[in-house]
């Protein structure tokens, strides 16, 4: 009887702690949403935590007026770069998991290392090369950069994913006389849908959220949203409600993806910790 009561108390305590922690993690969301819904007139430092008296969409409209063009830049960047790097990742992952040759783990190391470097260590040459080939300050240039530096993580995600496809399926293909590309096309690719979802979500999120390449390689008006947000936040004349509304807008696409496909996001996240 005692143990049962104790168990009930500890279960209740468990949920209380979980709910409190969840509320704590959501504090920034509350602040951003509440502030975004205030008008210029009703935003004040003293009433930061208060609920808006009147819901006003003027801050969001004003943020959109400033960020809108950058939103298009970010989509024009993130979508092609995600697709291309995922496709390259799939091809590499297939080669590295199903057709291992002597030295393939050295090749794998060579590829993976690029994922961890601080990009400051390639930034000066990168800028000069993009300038020479005419891609500095263009979305096309940023696409190229994100595709190249996205190869390691995309390869990693697909290699791990394909490792879980039984080798018998490849053997069966070989017996049928299907070659390397045939097996990829008719056996592997049809099984790759969730691999592409995992890699795609991860890449889209990373590219959308990236700031270093964006701020180093583009100038207005060709900048992605993250840079535009920092410019808005850094300006002394922009009110807090507009800053928070901008922060909200910038986060909407990746948060939507996270809410709708969170399970796949977590798989990409765990893949990033390089488990053999």
């Amino acid at each position: 009887m005692n143990t049962l009561a104790l168990r009930r108390v500890s279960r209740t305590l468990l949920y209380v702690v979980l709910i409190l922690l969840a509320a704590l993690y959501l504090v920034p969301v509350y602040v951003v949403v509440v502030t975004s819904l205030k008008s210029n007139a009703s935003v004040s430092l003293a009433q930061m935590w208060n609920f808006p008296n009147v819901f006003s969409f003027s801050s969001i409209a004003s943020a959109w007026a400033q960020l809108g063009p950058n939103f298009i830049n970010s989509f024009e960047l993130a979508i092609p770069a995600t697709l291309i790097s995922s496709l390259i990742g799939a091809l590499n992952g297939y080669a590295l998991s199903k057709w291992r040759f002597k030295g393939s783990s050295v090749v794998y190391f060579f590829i993976l290392f690029g994922m961890f470097i601080p990009y400051q260590s390639v930034l000066i040459p990168l800028l000069k090369v993009l300038d020479v080939i005419g891609l500095y300050n263009t979305i096309a240039g940023l696409i190229l950069v994100h595709v190249v530096y996205g190869i390691p993580i995309a390869t990693l995600i697909f290699r791990n994913y394909y490792t879980s496809i039984p080798l018998e399926m490849i053997e069966a293909g070989k017996i049928d006389g299907t070659g390397y590309w045939g097996i990829f096309r008719y056996i592997i690719l049809p099984l790759s849908v969730s691999g592409f979802v995992v890699a795609g979500i991860w890449q889209f999120t990373q590219i959308w959220n990236n700031f270093l390449f964006a701020v180093s390689l583009t100038n207005p008006p060709d900048q992605p949203v993250t840079v535009a947000l920092v410019n808005i936040a850094g300006s002394q004349t922009v009110q807090w409600n507009v800053q928070m509304a901008s922060a909200l807008l910038v986060s909407v696409p990746t948060l939507l993806v996270y809410i709708l496909l969170g399970k796949f996001f977590v798989r990409g996240l765990l893949a990033g910790s390089v488990k053999g």
Partner: protein
């Protein structure tokens, strides 16, 4: 995952040795598939790192490139500068606290979630959602929440708190020992950045720990329970040792992320007063692209790269070797 690698390992000895050495178009295709990526990464990663290293030994400290050798001059300039010495202090303090906080918070959350709770997915999603947001968003939002004249301080004031913290505007270093040009200690201003960074990244530690906890067999947990071991005893003598590999993984990945931290600092505090929240990544960016000191910026970048490589290279080698043996 494991079964496939086992199959892989078993199928190799089955083949006669002569057959393995024979040229195969399939193996050729496998190598050929990888060649474009290897060329791209060879240029964009390894070639560019080499180029940056070359620049770091040059005299290119104005807008006009000058590749005459400067020897180690740029390195000696940055290491004796007030700003870079501050960066090194900040990055060490920041990384240490960041890792410890993420490990503790992440493990605590994972243990709570692993208790076969209701709405598990809901709670997990909440602790993990900051990972889907840009560091610059986090920086902008938290710079308001921790703004000394509003935000959290309003709440502390309501509770009758007398000396309100000045968060990222604090100029205190504790314990403040003079060393070189700087004061060694913990810059209190970094605490504000730490709160934001832990809010964003602790979910990663939670997710990896949760995967680790799920990997511990129920029999082990059950055996400990029947044994009459208390909850704490069981945690420290059974659960924690089982999570050693998981902890190492989290430490390595978060260390790499922490040493590179850029967007959060840029958006939240900038270098700060007396460079109290400055980091090598931000110093490199400003030295190179705003100060046009390309060679010095390159030197900072190379030092940063080496700091990360010390952690990452052994980790990658060990992990990949384990993967091969499995």
């Amino acid at each position: 995952m494991k079964t496939a690698t086992e199959l892989n390992a078993k199928s190799i000895p089955k083949m006669p040795a002569s057959k393995r050495k024979k040229f195969s178009w399939d193996m050729f295709s496998s190598v050929a598939t990888l060649i474009p990526s290897l060329i791209l990464l060879g240029v964009f990663v390894y070639g560019f790192i080499g180029w940056t290293t070359y620049v770091s030994f040059s005299q290119w400290n104005s807008l006009i490139p000058n590749f005459n050798s400067a020897g180690f001059l740029n390195y000696s300039i940055i290491f004796s500068s007030y700003r870079f010495q501050s960066d090194l202090r900040n990055i060490v303090v920041f990384t240490a606290f960041f890792i410890i906080a993420c490990l503790i918070v992440g493990l605590f959350l994972a243990l709570l979630i692993d208790q076969k709770i209701k709405a598990e997915g809901f709670f997990r999603s909440i602790f993990l959602f900051p990972m889907a947001i840009s560091f610059v968003v986090t920086g902008v939002v938290w710079s308001w929440i921790l703004n000394p004249s509003t935000g959290v301080n309003l709440i502390l004031k309501a509770f009758g708190w007398k000396s309100l913290p000045s968060w990222f505007l604090s100029t205190t270093i504790w314990p403040n020992w003079p060393f070189g040009q700087i004061q060694i200690g913990i810059p209190v201003a970094l605490l504000a950045v730490l709160i934001a960074a832990v809010w964003q990244m602790s979910g990663f530690a939670m997710a990896v720990y949760l995967a680790g906890l799920r990997g511990i067999s129920d029999e082990i947990k059950e055996a400990a329970r029947i044994d009459g071991s208390g909850v704490f005893r069981m945690f420290f003598s059974i659960i924690l040792p089982q999570l050693r590999g998981t902890t190492t993984t989290i430490i390595i990945i978060l260390t790499a992320a922490s040493l590179k931290i850029f967007g959060l600092i840029y958006a939240m505090t900038g270098p700060g007063q007396q460079f109290l929240t400055d980091m090598p990544s931000l110093n490199m960016f400003q030295t190179t692209f705003q100060g046009d000191q390309f060679a010095q910026g390159a030197a900072i970048a190379i030092v940063l790269l080496l700091m990360i490589a010390i952690f990452i290279v052994p980790y990658l080698i060990v992990t990949l070797r384990q993967g091969d043996d499995a």
